[in-house]
């Protein structure tokens, strides 16, 4: 998909033009040849990354992620979001499957953390997607299975395959329906996982229960 945003080189050219300094002054400040800058401005030559960085320093420019989601590499339309969710689910399925190589390690908890974080990111990235709420619920169920030492269960092949299969299904689904959240809950429970993650809060003091 072609981005409508101006390229980095175009933005740099624009900033040079707007600075009000001559190319000689700018070149001197940045330690660059003014002729080279001139050719760059005319679109006849490129700047190395190092030269561009020096120029940015002089012009007080730095890279900022665009709030516009499409420009920031984030999905924008519903079909974008669905494609993004499918890609995330596919990557997660592979990541869960790949836990096999670390399954016997003592520090397995640290190995599973990448999957846990990826699930987090998927939930956050889909925040603005009105039709991906069911997918978010599903990602949450899986994420919660890592809580409270639940990651230990991922040492077993059965659990890794089972969860990877759920994620692969999510990667191949055009639209997630509410029923899939329920069936996913059941599948995770059947694997011996706890998808709830947080215990029911207790009373503030025991008196509330004991004394009615």
């Amino acid at each position: 998909m072609k981005s409508a945003a101006p390229s980095l080189a175009d933005q740099l050219r624009q900033a040079i033009r707007e600075t009000g300094q001559s190319l000689t002054q700018l070149g001197k400040a940045a330690g660059l040849d003014s002729g080279r800058l001139s050719r760059f401005l005319r679109g006849e030559g490129d700047l190395s990354l190092t030269a561009a960085a020096r120029l940015c320093q002089v012009l007080h420019l730095h890279l900022v992620r665009d709030g516009n989601s499409a420009a920031a590499g984030q999905p924008r339309s519903q079909s974008d979001y669905a494609a993004f969710r499918r890609a995330q689910a596919r990557a997660l399925a592979e990541a869960v499957f790949a836990l096999e190589r670390d399954a016997k390690r003592e520090d397995f908890a640290a190995c599973t953390h990448a999957v846990f974080s990826q699930l987090h990111e998927a939930i956050n990235a889909l925040e603005e997607a009105p039709l991906e709420g069911n997918a978010r619920a599903l990602f949450r169920l899986i994420r919660n299975t890592f809580l409270n030492s639940g990651w230990q269960r991922y040492r077993t092949v059965k659990v890794r395959r089972g969860v990877a299969a759920i994620l692969e299904n999510l990667a191949n689904t055009a639209a997630v329906i509410p029923r899939e959240v329920d069936t996913t809950y059941d599948k995770l429970r059947a694997l011996g996982l706890d998808p709830v993650g947080v215990p029911l809060p207790g009373p503030d003091s025991d008196d509330e229960w004991v004394d009615g």
Binding site: H120, I123, N124, E127, P130, L131, E132, G133, N134, R136, A137, R140, L141, N144, P178, V181, D182, Y185, R189, P195, V196, G197, V198, P199, L200, P201, G202, P203, D204, S205, D206, E208, W209, V210, D211, G212
Partner: protein, 270 residues
């Protein structure tokens, strides 16, 4: 023969495995290989206490600028004994999940949690005793499309909390009858002296028409009156020692988490 146990609301947490490890083990020791049951009425109490409170939290969080502000507001709004524990647990959870800055996602997290809790309740208690009191709201289950989660949860909460004004619990308690269930229970002096006994007596003497609003104040009595002889009641609440004795029903009082642990565990502290 495997014994059956009706798990009263106060004993639901260890039954679900949601108390400390030692407290849950204590619960398991008490019930052994027995089968766990619930009632529509106890499920109603679960929905009211945990599900609707969590949905309330979610809706408040969704309307605030930040999560901390929402939790502060809720702390001011509620009686301390009611929700402080829940606020502490959910606040910690949202922090751990990195959802303390984003109210929309935080509200959704809490809403999902409410659903997941209910799901687990129904999983642990697949069998219910007969709904003798004919509670109409305890069997309600939210139909949720997660794409419009908060709207669906709000609609469910509104429907659930709308008092039923023509409930058959009135016939069940039999306030109008001299030998109705309520009168028979209140004939026991020790039951009548309990806080729930006093509330039941006041309603009985005034021949009050019971809606959900009044019913929640006499929940222990309704649970005791519904308990079948074939089920032992597992409870934490002292009141059931008298209620079950008066009804001639088997029961087991489990220890509180404080009695088992010596102190209220940190996760439960505000």
């Amino acid at each position: 023969m495997t014994r059956a146990f009706l798990v009263e609301t106060s004993a639901v947490r260890p039954a679900l495995g949601d108390s400390t490890a030692r407290h849950c083990a204590h619960f398991q020791e008490q019930v052994g290989a027995g089968t766990l049951r619930t009632s529509v009425y106890i499920r109603m109490e679960f929905l009211r206490r945990w599900f609707c409170d969590a949905v309330h939290l979610a809706l408040v969080i969704d309307q605030q600028r930040d999560v901390a502000e929402a939790l502060y507001l809720l702390e001011q709004e509620f009686r301390p004994r009611r929700l402080k524990g829940a606020l502490a647990v959910l606040g910690k959870y949202l922090r751990d999940m990195g959802q303390f800055r984003n109210t929309r996602l935080a509200a959704e997290e809490v809403g999902h949690l409410a659903l997941f809790w209910l799901r687990r309740f129904d999983e642990v208690f697949p069998t219910r005793i007969r709904n003798l009191c004919r509670c109409r709201i305890g069997s309600m289950t939210p139909e949720v499309n997660h794409n419009r989660l908060l709207d669906d949860l709000r609609a469910f909460r509104d429907a659930f909390l709308t008092p039923v004004t023509d409930c058959e619990v009135n016939a069940f308690l039999g306030f109008a009858a001299a030998e109705g269930r309520a009168a028979a229970l209140l004939a026991d002096e020790r039951v009548a002296a309990l806080p729930v006994g006093k509330k039941l007596r006041a309603l009985h003497e005034a021949n009050t028409w019971i809606t959900c609003r009044e019913c929640v104040t006499i929940g222990d009595a309704v649970i005791a009156l519904e308990q079948p002889a074939s089920c032992g009641l597992v409870h934490l609440d002292n009141a059931f020692n008298e209620l079950c004795r008066a009804r001639g029903r088997p029961h087991r009082q489990i220890q509180s988490v404080v009695a088992v642990e010596g102190t209220l565990p940190e996760a439960d502290s505000p």
